[in-house]
């Protein structure tokens, strides 16, 4: 076991990565609530967020913030395309759940390969959003990037909460989550809600990818581990509860950081996956209980 004095520092960085997992987990829940589909291509959105922003920065010389916003918009659009091209035809044919999973997983691979062909296989990174030395808080270094991650995540969660509670579309989506048939009878265009869910979910994924990239790196193949971590977050929070998923993400981030401290960085994915298996076997309804 490593030095215990690192623990506060490790917990702080775990909080950052936890927010990112939480955002991805919310993405899973938004689609699941609108349709009952678990989108296994969620990781592609995360990867594309980072890769597109990097491309826009480097190739077109956009400043960071516009580049990030454009990337999020593009990825949200891609989410709708994915829904139209892959999910909708299967949905209309009443495909089995397994077929849907396999198709979205195949879509993940296709997006990965296209990114590999266009962007190359070299890992890329983004500059820190605010390039200043970290703030020292009683011996714990808090980087500005961490503040960006936590701040933007909380803002996104708050905006999402407001969207679901206050807007017509948000309320319609919640109605779909409760009962699709009844929602359709009330005149809610259920299929359009599905497209909207993919757009929101993709935007959240892209945002997560952009926020985390400056602290590590991004490459065509980072998506699947992020997707699985997001899925774990969603499970820990009780599948279908967006805010549970955010808490689940935070918990997973903390556990993973402690695991890195204990066993080394190489096994961080193994640690996350072990949390998943543990929850699946012992408490599949999550800490807060499943939504339905």
């Amino acid at each position: 076991m490593a030095d215990f004095s690192y623990i506060p520092q490790v917990l702080v960085s775990g909080l950052g990565i936890g927010c990112v997992y939480g955002l991805i987990g919310i993405g899973f829940c938004v689609i699941y609530n609108a349709s009952g589909i678990v989108n296994f291509a969620q990781g592609a959105f995360v990867m594309l967020g980072g890769m597109l922003t990097q491309g826009l920065l480097q190739r077109y010389g956009l400043p960071l913030l516009p580049a990030a916003l454009v990337a999020i918009a593009i990825v949200a659009l891609l989410g709708v395309v994915l829904e139209r091209v892959v999910v909708r035809p299967l949905w209309d044919r009443k495909a089995t759940m397994f077929t849907m999973i396999l198709a979205t997983l195949a879509a993940q691979i296709v997006i990965e390969r296209v990114t590999l062909l266009v962007g190359g296989d070299q890992p890329k990174t983004l500059p820190m959003f605010t390039d200043l030395p970290p703030i020292q808080v009683s011996g714990v270094a808090v980087s500005y990037q961490l503040l960006w991650i936590v701040g933007s995540s909380l803002l996104a969660v708050a905006a999402l909460a407001a969207f679901f509670r206050l807007t017509r579309t948000g309320k319609a989506m919640r109605a779909c989550a409760i009962n699709r048939e009844a929602a359709a009878l009330q005149g809610i265009p259920v299929s359009r809600m599905l497209a909207a869910a993919f757009a929101i979910s993709a935007a959240l994924g892209a945002m997560a990818g952009i926020l985390i990239t400056p602290t590590q790196y991004t490459a065509f193949n980072v998506g699947v581990p992020f997707a699985i971590s997001g899925f774990i977050a969603a499970i820990v929070g009780g599948f279908g509860r967006p805010f549970g998923a955010f808490l689940g993400g935070l918990m997973l981030g903390l556990v993973q950081s402690l695991a890195i401290l204990g066993f080394g960085a190489g096994l961080k994915t193994v640690a996350a996956l072990s949390v998943l298996l543990l929850f699946l076997f012992i408490r599949p309804s999550g800490l807060l209980g499943a939504a339905k």
Binding site: R93, T99, I101, L105, A106
Partner: protein, 324 residues
Amino acid sequence: MTSSLSITSPEAPRRSWLSWRVALPYGFVTAVVAYAAVAGGYPATVVSFALIYAVFVIGLNLFMGFANQVSFGQNAFAAIGGYTSAVLTATYGWEPLPAMAAGMLGAVAAACAIGYPTLRLKGHYLAMGTLAIGLIVYEITVEWQSVTQGYMGLSGIPPLGIGGYEITSDRGQLLMLAAVVAGATFLSARLRGSRIGRALSAVAGSEEAARALGIPVARYKLLAFLLSAALASLSGSLFVHVVGFVSPEVFGLHMVILTFTMLYVGGIGTIAGPVVGALIISLLPETFRGFKDYQDLAYGAALIVMLIYAPKGLSSLFSIRRRP
């Protein structure tokens, strides 16, 4: 291969065009293997790889086609088999055959330990749980550098052989693999008609109904999982002994997509489907070589199109059995 034909044909209505349709996939497989055996060299290598994948897909078909279960993590067992073979022969100087047996034993033991809790899961949980198992094994092969050499991979793995005699020629390996695939196909054909196969069909149709008929559902699911893992392990071992080299990428996520594509092209739940699918998918990119980079892209796209428009696979056209 004709021997398994005689197993399937009694259930078919005795009309000549039907048995011709049954014979067609086997004829196709025999023709391709025979051509490769005569031509030798590069065609023999391509078909050999196809046959190695066929062993894996036959195993996948037992679990997914016969028992109608879901696993995205069978590549884990191919990795266990492959790496056990590689490490025991290259590092510890074992003979290939006992190393393969050890790999298979290890894979089945792992499948038993993993399968027992995992197979109680349903739906998305089962899918993600099995996907996680594949990833855990992948990460371990990358990180356990003292044994697996990480991304560098292990080389110097001896070819298969018994005693002093080693199969080193292209043709020899091809025929050996053809024999293994024929054996595995025969096994799956026999299994299909046996008590176990009928129980699995019942489980595939409806778990509740099967349970009501007194079939121990959990035990049969686990059995199908173990058989599937054993074949995956065999395929992993064959791969490392034929190629002489192994790295984590061999058994990565792309293997999952590739083998699912093979299974769907061939026809899920059929006897000959896995072999036909493995051959078609392996031969296709060879007809337009130079597109290596686009392979996984093409497989993924083809799989999506097939799932939408031909969810039972292309060779379901040849199948006399309707899926349960």
